[in-house]
Symmetry: C2
Subunit: 416 residues, 2 copies
């Protein structure tokens, strides 16, 4: 049984000093050991997970959620592989971001350093427990985890295996601390633990993220919901437009970088919509559009204002016609969650305007929004996709889990 929140905070704050001085080799060796322990002790995880699954079934948990909760041998292998992938990424710590001398002889260095203690609040996906540990550990941070209560037994087993393995490696087991109290008040108190926690990252659906943004007094990195748009400009190449929309909408439905809303220039609507409608129909995507869209696609339902603001995460797409790139940009900026939005066009001026004015983390020309992802960007594993503007935007890899400090070295300088 874990101790009180205050106690956990203190232990994490203590652990961070030991963690920040570990060498890359020590950290990689520990990550490999934990990956090995996941495989060697998989039965322990599967049994714990079985308890969670049974309780979930008894409580009538939605099949989709049960699937996310479920651990299998393959998924445990994937968790282990994930840690090994993290060992292969360069260690961002120790980087000198800038250094300069002042006229008075002061030597100033801006150094990349760990945050210290990262808090992560997430839902009932036990693999997040392993991923979050791996990314925070590699960046020299202690992490305090609060997972969904439906995954409690699984998370206890995973964090126990991590902690015991770290201890065997001679590393403080408080690198990872799990909040096991499932009282909602404890989660609320966790969001106000500024004294010990440097940054809080929610991972999950819109409701969780909103709750954290509204209640946390700790600086939050808001990750993820994506009401992503694709705008088919009047100068779009239809041969590109149809496959991109189809890919962004249907290649994977339940993810934040999938396309939820289509914006179409009215001059190209009659050329692109029939082919696009057919392709979407084939994939069983429900279409909801404005009157001009519906005039061209008789099976398209009427879209409401609410549709334009909805991240469906489902086989549904909203469609809206506009009279100009400017109108498309205004519509997108009104409804986007600032994740990823794309323009399909061969017109360089329209592309430039769109790239400049769409106020999102990732703005695309002639490509699918599905590329907003740490691996696709070449960053490797990611902790999430930031949709706020403070600190980090878009895919957040290892560097985004660090901050910097200034060190200033002198020989007796005083301020005149």
């Amino acid at each position: 049984m874990m101790s009180s929140l205050e106690e956990l905070g203190k232990r994490a704050a203590e652990a961070k000093y030991a963690l920040q001085v570990l060498s890359s080799e020590q950290k990689n060796a520990a990550l490999e050991a934990v990956a090995g322990a996941f495989l060697a002790r998989k039965q322990e995880m599967l049994s714990a997970n079985e308890k969670d699954l049974k309780a979930g079934e008894e409580n009538g948990m939605h099949p989709g959620l049960l699937d996310r909760l479920r651990l299998t041998e393959d998924r445990i292998q994937a968790m282990a592989d994930g840690l090994i992938e993290i060992t292969e990424l360069p260690d961002p710590l120790g980087e000198v971001l800038e250094c300069f001398d002042r006229p008075n002889g002061l030597h100033i260095s801006k150094l990349r350093v760990p945050f210290g203690v990262i808090g992560i609040i997430y839902e009932s996906r036990p693999n997040v427990t392993a991923d979050a540990f791996g990314l925070c550990f590699k960046t020299g941070n202690a992490v305090i985890l609060k997972g969904g209560k439906d995954a409690l037994y699984s998370n206890i087993a995973i964090s126990r295996i991590i902690r015991e393995t770290l201890a065997e490696e001679g590393i403080t087991e408080d690198a990872v601390l799990l909040i096991t109290d499932t009282d909602r008040q404890v989660t609320n108190d966790f969001m106000k633990l500024n004294r010990y926690v440097d940054v809080l990252i929610p991972r999950g659906g819109a409701g969780l993220i909103r709750a954290v943004v509204e209640n946390s007094t700790i600086p939050v990195i808001e990750t993820g919901t994506g009401n992503c748009h694709i705008y088919i400009d009047e100068d779009a190449d239809i041969e590109k437009a149809v496959p991109i929309v189809l890919n962004a909408k249907t290649q994977r439905i339940g993810v934040c970088n999938s396309c939820e809303s289509l914006v179409i220039h009215e001059k190209i609507a009659d050329k692109v919509l029939p082919a696009l409608g057919e392709a979407l129909r084939e994939k069983k995507v429900e279409m909801r559009g404005d009157e001009k869209v519906r005039a061209l696609l008789p099976d398209c339902l009427a879209a409401t204002e609410e549709d334009y603001g909805t991240e469906y995460l489902d086989y549904i797409i909203s469609m809206k016609t506009v009279a100009s790139t400017e109108e498309a940009i205004a519509h997108i900026n009104r409804y986007t969650t600032r994740h990823s939005d794309a323009i399909i066009t061969e017109n360089k001026d329209h592309a430039r305007l769109f790239l400049q004015c769409v106020d999102s983390a990732c703005v695309y020309v002639n490509a699918s929004t599905r590329f907003t992802d740490g691996f696709e960007f070449g960053f490797g594993a990611e902790i999430g996709i930031s949709t706020q503007k403070l600190h980090a935007r878009g895919p957040m890899g290892l560097k985004e889990l660090t901050t910097y400090k200034y060190t200033i070295t002198g020989n007796g300088q005083i301020r005149p």
Copy 2:
């Protein structure tokens, strides 16, 4: 009379698109014009300020606060000079922070862009109105200002002059918007205007900053309180230690980078404290120390736990002896506000340990903490000193008022 918060938010969000495309030349010309208008219309500002001062005097405002509220010809000149200085700083916008190609041919650029809309909440110092506008405008941001109610007439006059001058320059006057409703509820609502405001920066004392951190749902950059420490190590050069402490404590009393607390290795206490005590006594600094300090300085009062956690901003200093560098670091990390802390030592290992382990934005070796300042770092004008770890730490100049976006250009790429 300004309109509702919602209306102000909308106008700022509209203005940001016009502001982000201004050239450096347009922005600098506008800043020069505003500086000129400040001087040409100083009587208008002085009359408005007179009303605020009169009300302040009638309400028994503290002389120190009245002084901060007061505008004089010299101070108006300084406000104008401040804007001219901002024109001389390089424009951070348009910088390509990184760009790279992916194996699938996607071209990804990470571009420095404005936040969009910055909110600033501050106390009754009318010059902040001009400074905040200048820094936000140069970085392509719209700014919504909420100043202290005691400076309302002054702020209305200053923002009117800015807005009218911008309009004459053909630039949207909504680059600066002032909240004139002094109802506290309006300030609270402002802190939750996430829909329009990208980042909120409080400028003022500990109480204001705490209120913003606790109530804002907008991402906050926490600026400023400084419970700054100087640690005199056993291997300190006393010839450096005494002048540095004296400078950091007394060169300017009421500022965040002044020294509030001294930590002294017990092995050097009897060598350094008599000289230091004499120097502090001469400057009329009240000393509050532990028993070992008091044994060497009979006029030193007894320090309490509260003393170690207090930012005095006054002629008072707390003093604590320790038995090692590690103990000094632990004490400092417990009480520091993570602003600026210094070690005085000739021992390179102690210096290295201190630089690595003290968890503050600016960590010094053998120099006064008073150098934590945008001008002293060579950044030019600053919006504040960040004491949190998200986004920016230490002095925040123009670059720190920007974020980035990714632009991704392809030729039809879809995700396999």
